[in-house]
Assembly symmetry: C2
Homo-oligomer: 319 residues x 2
């Protein structure tokens, strides 16, 4: 065990890769390793990057990696792909682009696509963040495709969250932006060479303005908006500046907020662990239960309703 | 109680609207109503409609409603919006368009945005399907924005699932299509007047071809691909034909598959109910627990790890 811990801490690629695979596969023994790693976590700065499909998140993340590496800052990247429940593995898509960094020992990139029980993906992401943290990565980028509940849970544990949009998308995009508005610390209008970039900036400004009262009471941070053309490397320095500004805000002006954030994060993580364990125990019983199975045909034939069966199960199980 | 049930069954708009609001708000008493409604469910045909933001799902659904209404078939629509965890209400966006059907007594449209505990949205959606079903709606359309795990869980309970795409989206879209490929019974290339529509059809065909062996063994259905221009009402008749073809397949050639589907659906729903109940009991204890709270600072200061705290909680709780 101590051998694994020290190998992770010294950044041994093979050990870390195996550990991440075990996390993604939900190997039970992984908890023991994470337990031992816990004292060495909490130093990395976590960036969440989210936005709708097609906005160029991977290209942007690729650019952010380069910009941090130019400053000799080490980077871990977790590309989370909750869109692939059946294929069982993360689809790389244009993330292959990022792989040009894979020969740089200061960069570690992994895709996650954990399936299975509740919270699997969110939990695995957190655990991989902890592993990257323990191995000494200074910046950890969590990139998620899409903007569902999973993604919001995932970015919620980041220190700074970037919401990526592009000019000229339809009403759906507007709806999404409104929904995740409160999670965004820095808004990125990528592909800013396209028509409508200034309009997109104004739309975001307007929405932020409308939500200012609610938001500022909580964090006293006014979200920034940055235009980028990630494919040409434009706007990235400005983006890093705004991220740094938010970081400084958190650790200086926002210390109270940071303390609350850390407590809240610890509580959410603890409750998620409990959920997972309760699941592992109770759900395995339920799934395996011939007793439950014996009611299925009666439910379909409307002889009994599922609510009654559920209540009986809980009574039997004394919960 | 009996009054509520008979009012739902006779399609009383006010009663149904209140019931759906209670479902969305997670009012506990709603279970009792759903229990009583259970015998009257199982007759409607459920269509799942999903796809990335911006593909025009709402316009398409609007067109599908019109096409069914022209055949005097009654329709219920559930617009699921999992992108809005903070605002607390479903964002209508361009769904307002659909509201032109709201004066038609044969159509019932509701948005859902349930937040809160695990599975909230998936479960609420199912329950609203049951309500629409009990009130006699013949076709129930479940439309979801985005393509995360929530959405896949939601469409998985549909009889026929439409995956909507548009020509010329990037690699992200390809990745999503690959990920949800197995859930699609009919693929719609909407906005087919745009460049690249035929290419999009070919891409889907290619992917289906690659997955054929896996898929056919399970359902023996070869997914159809339909081009539509929903904003002009084009392609909708063809789309309805393909949906009808899939329906016929399910009830005739695929009866074994349908029976398995029903049992599987009943089991998933039962287990989700159990999850929800276990949550309501155990999680409320955890969230309220001062005992758990007392460990948060120690966790942050790395004096104890969350895994150990979790294990102690479960031991105390005798799970």
């Amino acid at each position: 065990m101590n051998d694994v811990i020290s190998k992770v801490r010294s950044g041994d690629v093979r050990t870390v890769a195996k550990l991440i695979r075990d996390i993604d596969d939900g190997i039970p023994g992984v908890w023991e390793v994470l337990k031992e790693l816990h004292p060495y976590t909490g130093r990395a700065y976590v960036l969440g990057v989210t936005g709708a499909p097609g906005v160029g998140k991977s290209t942007l993340v690729d650019g952010i990696i380069s910009a941090y590496r130019a400053k000799h800052i080490t980077v871990g990247v977790i590309a989370v792909d909750p869109t692939s429940p059946f294929t069982g593995g993360a689809i790389l898509g244009d993330r292959i682009r990022m792989q040009r960094h894979s020969t740089d020992p200061g960069v570690f990139i992994r895709s996650l696509a954990t399936r299975g029980q509740f919270g699997g993906l969110t939990q695995s992401t957190r655990h991989v963040v902890d592993v990257f943290d323990a191995m000494g990565k200074e910046i950890i980028i969590v990139e998620t495709v899409g903007v569902g509940q999973d993604e919001i849970d995932i970015v919620r544990t980041a220190h700074t969250t970037l919401i990526v949009t592009i000019p000229g998308m339809g009403d759906d995009i507007q709806a999404i932006k409104a929904g995740i508005l409160e999670t965004g610390d820095v808004f990125v209008v990528n592909k800013a060479d396209k028509d409508g970039a200034d309009r997109a900036v104004q739309d975001i400004q307007l929405m932020l303005e409308m939500n200012r009262h609610h938001r500022q009471r909580e964090t006293r941070w006014i979200p920034r908006i940055v235009k980028t053309e990630a494919h040409r490397g434009l706007g990235l320095d400005k983006l890093l500046e705004e991220i740094a500004a938010h970081r400084e805000h958190l650790f200086r002006d926002g210390r109270e907020h940071l303390a609350a954030h850390l407590r809240n994060k610890a509580k959410i993580e603890l409750i998620d662990l409990i959920k997972q364990r309760v699941f592992a125990v109770v759900m395995e019983e339920a799934v395996q239960s011939h007793w439950l199975d014996s009611f299925l045909d009666d439910i379909i034939q409307k002889k009994i309703d599922p609510f009654t069966v559920c209540d009986r199960f809980l009574t039997e199980r004394k919960i």
